[in-house]
């Protein structure tokens, strides 16, 4: 595969992954545990869009925001119903809890929609510019994620809520003492991470297909992106997604055999997740705080 194609493929995958990783990183910064249920928000968002768009016949542009909104509310309900009870528990206990939630969501979706692949049936047009193939959908994906990331940046930096989010991530006790309603901030955090994960899931679903294991499929790359960028660093998560997407596509795109003067030999596409794990482990060993994480 040539360099231009690798760049385009990486950019699209990084956009989808980045928008998912933002919420994951935000949650890690504020709650202090790796949320295994985050991948399921991706699945929920995509399947809600399927229900609204394909089953109920709503136009895609109306179905998507509604699906995002409901996924965000679903995340808030999870906090009210489950996670708010275990605020004082250890990170490991919360992580195990989130695994239980992920298991249930995935199984419920399998029961409701079946395990075979579903399609959002987006009629995308193919283009080819100097041997680099891409679709109009891929451009939409990149633009949509860029817009949402800028929106997130504005909320995070310019609004009172953003300030409260940053303060709570920094030092929850101090934030509480300064009169910040941390419970409210945490609820907003769940809402934001829910809608962003849903958006990522919808874009992934438009480009590929829906399966109940969609969330499980993004889980490992998502953890890797967030770790590479620095756990808890929201901007790091976006850069981490970009680095990881490039690493994955390069590792799979390079013809190692020809490079070393032998017969053409490439890594099988099935190893994409393996590369994510390697990036995760390498980061943890060499630079545990990630690219943008704080020391310690």
């Amino acid at each position: 595969m040539q360099v231009g194609q690798i760049a385009v493929n990486s950019l699209v995958w990084a956009a989808e992954l980045g928008v998912i990783a933002i919420g994951m990183s935000l949650a890690y910064g504020i709650l202090g545990f790796a949320n295994f249920a985050h991948g399921e928000f991706v699945t929920v968002g995509a399947y809600l869009t399927y229900t609204l768009h394909i089953q109920a016949g709503l136009p895609l542009l109306i179905a998507i925001p509604i699906a995002m909104l409901f996924t965000g509310l679903f995340a808030v309900l999870l906090d009210i119903g489950v996670f708010s009870y275990v605020r004082q528990a250890s990170a490991v206990a919360k992580m195990v809890l989130s695994v239980g939630i992920a298991m249930i969501i995935r199984a419920v979706i399998s029961v409701l929609f079946g395990t075979s692949a579903l399609h959002l049936e987006f009629p995308s047009k193919r283009f080819e510019v100097s041997n680099v193939r891409f679709t109009d959908l891929q451009i939409i994906i990149i633009v949509a994620t860029l817009i949402s990331m800028v929106l997130f940046h504005l909320v995070f930096q310019q609004t009172k809520l953003g300030k409260a989010l940053r303060a709570t991530a920094d030092n929850p006790a101090l934030a509480e003492a300064k009169g910040i309603n941390t419970t409210g901030v945490i609820r907003w955090m769940w809402f934001i991470s829910g809608i962003f994960a849903a958006l990522g899931g919808i874009l992934l679903g438009l480009e590929t297909q829906l399966r109940p294991a969609l969330g499980l499929f993004v889980l490992m790359p998502m953890f890797a992106a967030v770790t590479v960028g620095g756990l808890g660093s929201v901007y790091g998560a976006v850069v981490g997604a970009l680095v990881l997407a490039l690493a994955q596509n390069l590792a799979l795109g390079i013809d190692y055999g020809s490079l070393l003067g032998f017969e053409p030999w490439r890594l099988r596409a099935g190893y994409k997740t393996g590369i994510a794990l390697l990036a995760l482990v390498a980061t943890l060993l060499v630079r545990p705080q990630g690219l943008f994480g704080r020391e310690g």
Binding site: A34, A93, V96, G100, M103, A107, V108, L284
Partner: protein, 295 residues
């Protein structure tokens, strides 16, 4: 009915080895292993690989134990530098990478098709059951002995406070490594037992969710309590096997019943963590009396 009992007991014994292994790692030492399927799959694939290539059978234990020890060492390497939850992600990914290799490489043990017709070796089935039950008994006594020994005191100190254990002059990493090796060997033995009982090994059997079934069993039975580990495996496997009978009886599709089982396990996991994290049989804290002459 007798067949059902023998089958259930065999499966419970298999999973008891896994829960005892996890209890040793997490319950006693505090190692959050989210990749139990790695070691289980290593055992199963040791058998599958040997059968797939028609190699001599005596290679199976060498492959299983050798690969389990190597994997335990490799997985433990990052543990000395990582917080427990980071290390959990590494183990979680590790099991998936092993599964991906087995799925993508057709020359090891049949790739996605897997390896069929793995000989049972020990017949009839009650004898197979007895062998596994005996292995569980051995594992139980070994872990109980460790629990009460000086080694056990140190690993529990490591669990509660790594810095304290290091301050007491203990090499925390060396203890974690030894626990991981023993845990890996126990899980690999369960994997070999699985391969020769089910007689079919394919990557589908080692999905990450299986790891969390083992976690649910351990937390239900009682984290830190070896008897609890066996009890948890017994309760959940009895439920699990019964649902398969219900599926046959009612004619409901197998995958729907399978998903309901996952929902029940997930719910149980959530409720346990929220309301009874110590499980049915809580860990019995050992109280040591100080005798001056013991030093």
């Amino acid at each position: 009915m007798l067949n059902f009992l023998v089958h259930t007991t065999t499966i419970i014994a298999m999973f008891s080895l896994l829960t005892i292994s996890l209890n040793l790692q997490y319950g006693l030492t505090g190692l959050v292993n989210f990749g139990m399927m790695l070691f289980f799959a290593i055992g199963a694939y040791a058998s599958a690989t040997v059968i797939f290539h028609s190699w001599p059978l005596w290679l199976i234990p060498i492959f299983a134990l050798g690969a389990a020890v190597v994997a335990a060492v490799v997985v433990s390497l990052p543990a000395r530098r990582l917080k427990p939850d980071y290390w959990a992600l590494v183990t979680f990914g590790g099991q998936e990478v092993f599964r991906l290799v087995m799925l993508n490489e057709n020359n090891i043990a049949g790739g996605s098709i897997g390896t069929r017709a793995i000989p049972t070796l020990i017949t009839p089935t009650p004898l197979y059951m007895a062998t596994l039950v005996a292995l569980v008994a051995i594992a139980y006594f070994v872990v109980q002995r460790i629990h009460r020994s000086a080694f056990g005191r140190i690993i529990r100190t490591v669990r509660e406070d790594e810095v304290l254990a290091a301050t007491l002059g203990r090499n925390v990493y060396s203890f974690q490594l030894r626990v991981m090796i023993l845990g890996a060997v126990l899980a690999a033995i369960a994997g070999v037992g699985y391969a020769h009982y089910i007689t079919f090994v394919s990557p589908e059997a080692f999905m990450p969710v299986e790891t969390f079934f083992i976690w649910t069993m351990l937390i239900l039975g009682g984290t830190g309590n070896t008897l609890g580990a066996i009890l948890g495996a017994a309760i959940l496997q009895t439920i699990s096997i019964s649902t398969r009978f219900i599926a046959n009886y009612t004619g409901l599709p197998g995958d729907i019943v399978g998903n309901f089982r996952i929902i029940v396990f997930g719910l149980l996991l959530i409720l346990l963590v929220m309301f009874r994290p110590q499980g049915i049989l809580p860990e019995r804290k050992l109280v040591y009396e100080y005798h001056a002459q013991d030093k």
